[in-house]
Every structure is written in C-alpha cells, then in structure tokens.
C-alpha cells in the first residue's frame, strides 16, 4: 500500500511498486487524460507534472512518487471551469483525434509555469519529446501562445497574492 498525491488529493494505492504511474492513474484512479502511446518514453502521450516537472508517466514507477505531487490534465480545470491552457486549446480547436493533446498540454503547462512568456522557439524546443500523428502541430503552437496570453490577463486581473 502506497500513498500517492494526485491533483491535491491523497490516495492509497495497492499496485505493485514497480507499476508505472500511467497504469495507476488510468486503472486504479480511473483517470483518462494520461494516455498510453508507447510505454517507452518516446511519444509524450502519457505526460503528467510531478513537482513542477513534466515527466513520462509510462516509465516512472510508483515507488519513486512517495511524497511527491502529481498533477494531471484533470487537475487543471473542467469543461465548466477550464484553466487558461484548456480554454486556449478549445479556442484554437487544437485537436484532430486529440490522443496526443493531453500530454502536450501538460508539458506546455510546466513550461508556462516557469516561463510565462515563452518564445515560439521555446515552445517548439519544449514540445520536442512529443509526437502528434494527425499533424495538429500548428494549432498546438498557437494554443500554447494563446494560453500564455490568457494566463497573463488572468494574472493581471487577480491582485498579487490572491489565489
């Protein structure tokens, strides 16, 4: 039995300690966003954020995650209350099949958290580990730029120190 903190909530997990986080999220916690794409750290479909860093959940075993904070796309917002990056991907219609999108969004979110004004080049370099087979890349880039704008205006709207 292991404790896992996902999107701010603690869970007790029964899976074997060598189980990759991906399967814990999908099967034990019945979450959908992190996707199985390769299980090899080659495509990015499974990307989530752990303590501020984007990681491949398909090759990160549960045993490394005790006491760390996992954030998934579900933790950013909902259809009714989308986060800036979710809003941006909807505005830009940045999906075809969308299978790669959740992973893209998580790595982009980690980038925006440490660099709120990334250049186009920053975004391209950051997303290099991610594959999209539908060829949605142009819209993904636009959506990340748009997310940065939305975060800026949200930041301005909220007084400093407010949540």
């Amino acid at each position: 039995m292991m404790k896992l903190n996902v999107n701010g909530a603690d869970h007790s997990i029964e899976a074997d300690p060598d189980t990759p986080l991906l399967y814990v999220l999908r099967d034990d916690l019945q979450m959908n966003a992190a996707k199985y794409g390769c299980g090899l750290g080659q495509c990015g479909a499974c990307t989530v954020i752990v303590d501020g860093e984007a990681i491949f959940s398909c090759i990160t075993p549960l045993m490394l995650l005790e006491g760390r904070k996992v954030t998934t796309l579900e933790g950013l917002g909902t259809i009714a209350k989308p986060s800036p990056i979710q809003q941006a991907f909807m505005e830009e219609q940045a999906a075809q099949c969308g299978y790669c999108i959740a992973g893209m969004m998580m790595r982009a979110q980690a980038l925006l958290d440490r660099n709120p004004k990334p250049t186009d080049d920053d975004i391209r370099q950051t997303l290099q580990p991610h594959l999209c087979r539908c060829g949605t890349h142009m819209r993904i880039l636009k959506a990340v730029h748009r997310a940065a704008e939305l975060m800026q205006s949200a930041g301005k709207a909220a007084p400093k120190g407010a949540i």
Binding site: K35, G37, C43, Q93, Y99, I101, L127, Q128, T136
Partner: protein, 750 residues
C-alpha cells in the same frame, strides 16, 4: 442484452447534449433503425452520387428519429475518426430540420442501430452520410410541415419552422414532437429535395466548434482506451516474431501462476494473457513471449533493392487509359522513375478493443472504420452467424486508414469467447502496432512525356506498380487472430480496387488535358509484407510522381511551373484553386532560389472527383546537415459546400504535416525475416524541430454544390511540393521517397 452505461455517457459526451439515449434491444426487428432490406435497384431512383447513402437505405427514419417529446436522434453509419465528422453531420441535420444543434443527439456506426455505410474512408463521410442526412432532414421537415398544415388547416406556404416548432402567421403553433404520432416518417426518400435557402442556414458554412474537443482537453472519457466495463479484465496478445513464424513449443504453467493472471489463451499460434490488472497483463505477456519458442522463415524481400523487387513481381496488367488524338510532334522527351517504400499509419494510441460474450452474443467495441464488415469478419472467424456479433464504434486514436483496429477487435473477440461473461479490454503494445499493422504498400512509378515546340505536353505515358491498397475485412482471413488460430483462415486473395476511385492507380490518370496519354496499372498480387489502405492510397505516390514530373517538364519547357499547370488544365474549379494558392502565396513575387532556399508548387484533385487542393511552399535547407525546414506552406482547397470551413482547414493542415512527415522521414524497415522498425526510434516521424514555421489554408466555399471529401486531398500535393521546392533550392531532383536529409546532403554538397 442492454447497452452498457459507458456507451450512453460517451455518446452524450460526444454530442455535448448530455441527453440520455434509451437502451436498446439487439433484435433488429425491434428497432425502427434496423437497416431496411435493400430495395429492388430498378425501383430505387436514388443514387449514391446524388443521394449519398440513402441509396443504400432510403427510409427517412433510418437516419433521423424524432420522438414524442421532440428529442431528435441522428443515425450515421460513419465513424468519428478525429476528423470532426460528428460535428459536421449535426450541423447539416440541424439546419435542414430547423433545430438548434444542441437538441440533436448523434448515434454513429453500430451494427445494432445504424445503417450499413461500409467503411468510413476515402473522404466519403460528408459525400455519403452528410448528403443522406441532409436529404432525410429536409424531407422529414417537409412531411412534418405538411402534417401541421392539415392539423392547423392552413396552407403549407403560410407555415414557418423555427426551433422545431411549426407556426402560422397568427402565432398558432405545433411542435415536431406533437406531430410524429400522426405523421408517417417511415417512408422512402423522394429523388428531389427542398433544401433550405443558403441564407437561412445557421450552422452550415460556419466554423462551429467541434463538439468532441472540450472532453478531450479536460480529461473526459473520449476514446475506446477510456472505456471501462464493470468487472473488466485486461488482456495482451503475444504475436509471433515474424509473419511466418511457427510455434514450436510453449510451457504456460509458470505464466499461469503469475500474480493477477486469470487465463492464458492459446489457439494455434494466437497467444494471449488475461489478468486482473493492466500491468500484470503486461508482465505476463512479456513472460509468455519469452517462453514461446518459434521457428522462423525468411520471407521478406531485399530491402536494399526494394524497387527492383517491386518491378520484378508477377503482375496483372490493366491498361487504364489509352487515348490518342491529333497533336503537334514532340520535340523534347523526358522520363523518370519514382519509388516509395512501405510506410506505416503509426497511430499514437496503439489499437484497442473491448469485447464481451453474453448469452451467446459477442459485443465488440472497436475503433474500426467499418462496423459491418468487421462484424462479418469476426463472425466468420468465430464461425457463428453475424447476428451473434455486434460491433459498436468507439473513437480511438487517429487511424489514417486500415491499421490494427480490426485486428485488435478480432483479438478481443477471440479472447472474450474463451472467457464467457467477462468483459475483456485488449490493448496492443507499441511494438505490436508498429510490426503488425498493415502498411501502405511500396510502389514504383515510371513517367515519360514529350513536349512540343511551344512547351505543351503532347504525349504522356505512365505506369504504376503496386500491391492492393485494401486488405480490409473482407473475409475473416483479413484478421490476424483468424490467420493465427488453430483452424487458421487464410487472407482472401487481393483484388485491385475499381476505378474511378482506384487503389494503386488512384490519381494515376492525369487531371491535365493531354492529346495522347496511356496509363498502365501493374497490379501485384504477391504481398510478402502485410499491406492495406493508408490515407490517400495510391494517390499519395501518383500525385507525388505526376506533380514532380510536371515540374521537371515545366523546367525543360522553361515555363513557370504554375503557368505550365494552368496551360494544361481545363476544369475551371481546378484553375481557381491553383490560382488562389499561387496568389495567396505571392508566387509571382517570390524570391529566386538562393542559399538553400527554394519554392515549389503542386496540385491535385483527390481521386479526380473529390476535393481540389493546391499547395505552394517555401523551404530552407541547412547546408551542414541537409535538414529541410518548411518556412511557409500556403494551400487552397475546394471541397464543394464547406459545411465547417475550420474543420476543412484543420484536415488540410493535418494532411500537410502528416504527408511532410511521410515524405521526409518515413520508411518501414525489415531484414529478410522480421520487421525491424518497431517503435518511434526505429521508425522516426516528424517532431517539432521539423514542423513548418507557418501553414495557411484557404477554403473556397461553393454553397449549393455537393460536398466533396477533403480528408485525404493534401497527401499527394504535399509530397510533390516538397520535392519541387527541394529541386528549386538545390538543383537536385529527388525521386525516391523518403526525401531524407541524408540523401539530400550528398546531393546538396556537389
């Protein structure tokens, strides 16, 4: 047996309505949506061309059902593959019915509920299903209006429809729901429809946001991979190491004792494990793979000389064009050979299926492109009547043609039959998808042409060598599980797909007007490498060839490549499309090639009967590495009436990026026995460092004209525009796909 809850929530999620769909009975006779018997063709005045899939099932209520509460369900036999079809179909229906889109619910591809519309492929969805639904909606609206006129005792012309209510001028009104009880909607469509005026359309011609995107960007259940049935167990298959491998020995005892393992399924050389947890299934799969002893046979062609192998294969020859007219004599002659390797669909999400056997009926949830053919294949494999199998489409990762989806459905069904009652979730591993999916076939083309003294093509001679481009089910032998089981079923013999759409010869007929032309299709029945339909089929290679060669000819004639194309085109819509792309790109003002920079142009009409697509492109080649950077791509597309222009732009942008990836990077590799490109490191595709700097797509909307499929229109032009831009930048003509930086580097250094 009832529809599981998961299905209901998925549908309401996809349609965004939250409306609940009533569960249903499997007995076809109990359902108003059961496909009607195909009527006597001599009596059926409806045609696929004009009436879409109504020609398959002409009953209006097979497509649209309105119940007494006024809720409206649209039924399409086509599937959402990430192309946005579910949104576009509802736009069409809402406009013709005069209803807000959020009052509609969509049910797609389900052998228990929808019409048999064959495959969702070939950019046919809007042409076939969109047209059928539009006509059914328009005629149903008119029937309801006629019925309202009788009920309210006013002439039809005094009635107006809005929001599903029919009202007189003085405000008396009656809702659709109140009319359905007294209006016979189980009637056949009439040949002529009364469509709404273009100006009255609220949804068509406008970029309605896709209904499936909100769930996809917030972690909602949106894919088959996200389906969870109560009591579901996880399965993995172990595939042979190569196509012809024979299982010599296998001791499963140790694997059966592994934690969580519930069953090891063995049927001939079909092997699978079923476990309680997904990662337990994966560990057991690895152990099972390690325990299996195989003997293998070398059966694959020599990859280093693939084009020679293709051209030397036994062929059935089809002369598909033989046209001779008076012309000027040819003074300049050119000829060239082009080649394409096997290429992979490479879905980001490996194939997945769920299956459950209950009371003798196997229900399979699958991301197949064709629920009816898949059902027939699975039933054939299980040796049961089709009525004992039900296939329900659930969206998966984008597929781009016939990938592992049908095979995974067959796998899941075979495992489910071995464990009656238990829902099985089967997911392929990355290596399995890469090694076992049916690839896009290797191809060779040869083109010869003669120019007269004015720079016009007077003679054109073209040959294409190719396997079939469809080994879809078909019979049960199309499924890997059926091939591998003890009572093995061989794949059906391949056949060329008929023209005008064609397979290997798709787009092999030139769209340009040439006085003399002959075109030969060398159809190759032997398939040492597993192949089938991949986005665009032969059009990708044929357009790559024709549009590369047109550039070579323009160069030889010393005529601008765009002007050269225009001089050989006589279809006004083709001309408009070429001109628009050239104009938006600024073709006439473009910089001369210098310092590794170059520009190119290409055009095609997909299948010579679907959407038109022209692309202009500017590239830059890095001198030291040979790496190709797409600086700018500008496309023009004419898809007839553009139901959702942004949806079309999205498809064409995607086609440009995907085809650029095929064209610049992709090549299935193998030794004499095994496929060796089995993941993303051995089968590299485009990553962000090769993504274009800018892509603009301009949609030519032609309201009132038929929908033309656009989903595959960009594949061929992209390949050629890249080759043409590379030739402009370097003076080097590359004719062997993929146009890798490695090939180019040598060429560029000279």
């Amino acid at each position: 047996m009832n529809s599981p809850i998961t299905d209901v929530s998925r549908r309401s999620l996809l349609t965004g309505t939250g409306a609940l769909i009533v569960s249903f009975s499997l007995a076809p006779s109990a359902s108003a949506q059961a496909p009607a018997a195909v009527p006597d063709p001599t009596a059926n005045p409806l045609t696929m061309k004009v009436h879409g899939s109504l020609s398959v099932d002409p009953y209006l209520d097979s497509w649209i059902k309105i119940d007494a509460s006024g809720s409206v369900t649209i039924f399409s036999g086509k599937a959402e593959l990430g192309q946005g079809i579910s949104t576009a179909l509802l736009q069409v229906a809402a406009d013709e019915l005069g209803l807000p889109m959020d009052r509609l619910t969509l049910v797609t591809a389900d052998t228990g509920r929808t019409v048999n519309e064959g495959y969702t492929s070939g950019s046919h969805s809007m042409q076939d299903s969109g047209t059928a639904i539009r006509i059914a909606a328009a005629q149903m609206r008119d029937l309801l209006i006629a019925s309202a006129a009788r009920q309210l005792n006013v002439p039809v012309c005094e009635l107006v429809v809005s929001n599903g209510t029919i009202a007189t001028k003085d405000g008396t009104s009656v809702a659709y729901g109140a009319l359905v009880g007294t209006t016979d909607l189980h009637v056949q469509a009439q040949p002529v429809s009364n469509f709404r005026e273009q100006t009255a359309l609220k949804y068509m011609n406008s970029s309605v946001p896709r209904l499936d995107i909100p769930a996809k960007v917030t972690g909602g259940a949106a894919y088959i991979q996200d389906m969870r049935l109560p009591g579901m167990l996880h399965a993995r298959v172990v595939r042979p190491p190569s196509y012809k491998a024979v299982l010599k020995s296998l001791d499963t005892a140790a694997i059966e004792k592994m934690p969580g393992v519930v069953k090891v399924v063995r049927d001939g050389r079909f092997l699978a494990v079923v476990a309680k947890r997904e990662f337990q299934a994966i560990k057991a799969m690895r152990a099972l793979a390690a325990a299996a002893q195989w003997s293998e046979t070398a059966s694959l062609p020599d990859q280093t000389n693939l084009p020679a192998f293709v051209q030397a294969s036994a062929a059935k020859d089809y002369k598909i064009l033989d046209q001779h007219k008076e012309s000027n004599p040819g003074v300049t002659r050119l000829e060239a050979r082009f080649t394409r390797p096997y290429q992979a669909h490479g879905a980001i999400g490996p194939s997945c299926a769920l299956a459950q056997m209950d009371k003798g009926v196997v229900t399979v949830w699958t991301h197949t492109q064709g629920v009816y053919p898949d059902r027939a294949a699975i039933a054939g494999m299980l040796r049961v009547p089709p009525a004992q199998v039900r296939c329900i489409h659930v969206p998966g990762s984008g597929c781009y043609g016939h990938n592992g989806a049908d095979d995974a459905a067959g796998d899941a069904a075979l495992i489910a039959v071995a464990m009656p009652g238990t829902p099985i979730r089967l997911q392929w591993m990355r290596e399995q998808e890469h090694a076992w999916e049916p690839f896009g076939p290797a191809m060779v083309t040869e083109a010869r042409a003669a120019l007269d003294s004015t720079g016009k093509i007077v003679d054109w001679n073209y040959s294409v060598w190719s396997n079939t481009h469809s080994m879809r089910p078909g019979g049960p032998g199309a499924l890997l599980a059926a091939q591998h089981m003890e009572k093995s079923i061989a794949p059906p013999p391949p056949a060329p797909l008929p023209l005008p759409e064609g397979g290997g010869d798709r787009n092999a007929l030139p769209i340009y007007a040439f006085p003399n032309a002959d075109v030969m299709h060398h159809f190759l029945p032997d398939m040492p490498v597993r192949v089938s339909a991949m986005r665009g089929l032969g059009a990708y290679m044929n357009v790559f060839t024709i549009e590369s060669f047109m550039d070579e000819l323009a160069h030889a004639a010393k005529i601008d490549p765009v002007a050269f194309r225009l001089a050989h085109l006589d279809d006004p819509r083709a001309i408009d499309c070429v001109k628009l792309a050239a104009d938006k790109f600024g073709w006439d003002k473009r910089a001369k090639s210098a310092n590794g920079r170059g520009t190119g142009f290409a055009f095609a009409r997909y299948k010579n009967l679907a959407a038109y697509c022209a692309i202009a492109m500017e590239i830059e080649i890095e001198a030291e590495t040979g790496a190709i950077r797409i600086l700018r791509a500008v496309a023009a597309v004419d898809a007839g009436q553009a139901v959702n222009p942004d949806g079309i732009r999205n498809q064409i942008e995607g086609a440009i990026l995907q085809s650029a990836s095929w064209t610049l990077f992709e090549n299935v590799s193998f030794d004499d026995t095994r496929i060796s490109s089995i993941d993303w490191s051995t089968y590299p595709i485009m990553r962000f460092n090769s993504v274009p700097m800018q892509v603009d797509v301009h949609v030519i909307n032609r309201p009132g004209t038929p929908f033309l499929g656009a989903g595959e229109a960009g594949q061929g032009p992209t390949a050629a525009v890249l080759a043409n831009a590379i030739a402009d930048a370097t003076g080097q003509r590359l004719r062997e796909l993929p146009l890798t930086p490695a090939k180019l580097k040598g060429a560029f250094r000279i």
